[in-house]
Subunit: 204 residues, 2 copies
């Protein structure tokens, strides 16, 4: 097993548990000499392909009411700021495409942007589905706003995100967050303690 293999972190920018994972996975991996590949995907595509439904599909169900409370309680438990967004869930293809474009320019900028998108949605209640919000956040991370605006609508960038979703499905991803370490999959922010032990021990 090669210590240097990056960890794959699959997520959707509208996933609250993905946001919680995003605030913890990098420092945890770094403590064990690992890098993390952040790979935004679209849960809509994943759910359609796997024939499943978002956990909050029926907002009046007992499960949905529980999960909405659990998002908030889990954030408090982990000590992570969280404010339930007024628009949820919402489309994230602009944010995901912008991420991949930025990643092609500058990995560090892409990471800064990804954190900013998640915090914009889950702390500042901003509409991250809007191209303008995405461009503002990318510009604040240091990107060229006009270049990114032009890139967002290109077939190449759309194809890139489509390919990432297909790669995720082929890797067995069925939700967000989905973390893969040396072929071992961990689903959900609540698997962080297991991820930590896995990194410490090389598997258990």
């Amino acid at each position: 097993m090669n210590d240097k293999t990056p960890i794959d972190f699959w997520f959707d920018f509208s996933s609250p548990y993905g946001y919680l994972m995003s605030e913890r996975i990098d420092p945890l991996a770094a403590r064990h000499g690992r890098k993390v590949r952040w790979r935004p995907i679209l849960l809509g595509v994943i759910f359609q392909a796997t024939g499943s439904q978002p956990p909050v599909a029926n907002p009046d169900s007992a499960r949905a009411r529980y999960i909405v409370k659990d998002f908030h309680r889990s954030a408090r438990f982990m000590g992570i700021p969280y404010k339930p967004p007024s628009r949820f869930p919402l489309p994230t293809q602009n944010a995901a495409r912008a991420y991949y474009w930025l990643h092609g320019q500058d990995c560090g900028q892409a990471r800064t942007f990804a954190h900013a998108v998640y915090r914009a949605l889950f702390v500042d209640d901003r509409d991250i589905s809007a191209p303008d919000t995405v461009l503002d956040l990318a510009a604040a991370a240091g990107a060229d706003r006009a270049q990114l605006a032009a890139a967002l609508t290109t077939p190449e960038l759309k194809a890139r995100l489509k390919t990432e979703c297909e790669t995720a499905l082929a890797a067995g991803v069925f939700g967000s967050p989905h973390v893969v370490i040396d072929g071992e999959a961990f689903f959900g922010a609540d698997r962080l303690p297991q991820i930590e032990r896995w990194l410490e021990t090389g598997g258990f």
Copy 2:
């Protein structure tokens, strides 16, 4: 808030995460001066009423394959013996009815029996759906086998289990395990750390 309020532990005897919770919830509650009410229910009834599906409904799905692995890995993580049962899921109404009958006779016997049922299924791969297995486990816990055998088919005991399932649904239960502390619900064995902090702090 009354410290003495018992914690409700809703579970199905065929639920692997329910089994993991059953091995931890009593000592954790006791450390905080709390008793636990064990309340077996039937997930089939819960899923039908809530319009949801068991997580392993389609055994070939990526989600089901992940969950089956996660049962086992979560048990290893928690240091709890676990052997995947050859028959799973399986009907649990006999075990649940026997539990309530025993509880009417002797709480301690009922608790011993409940642990024995879970371990019979998830450690010794026994068919706990069979009335004979249920009666053997109850007799080993100290119950009168013939009396229980006669009670198992009575309308009163069937009605008791039905009422418990209805009470669970009214309390917002949608899966197993589902733990309720002073009105706050915790779903899944992976919520044990949050349960522990809740008991320590009275809420967070």
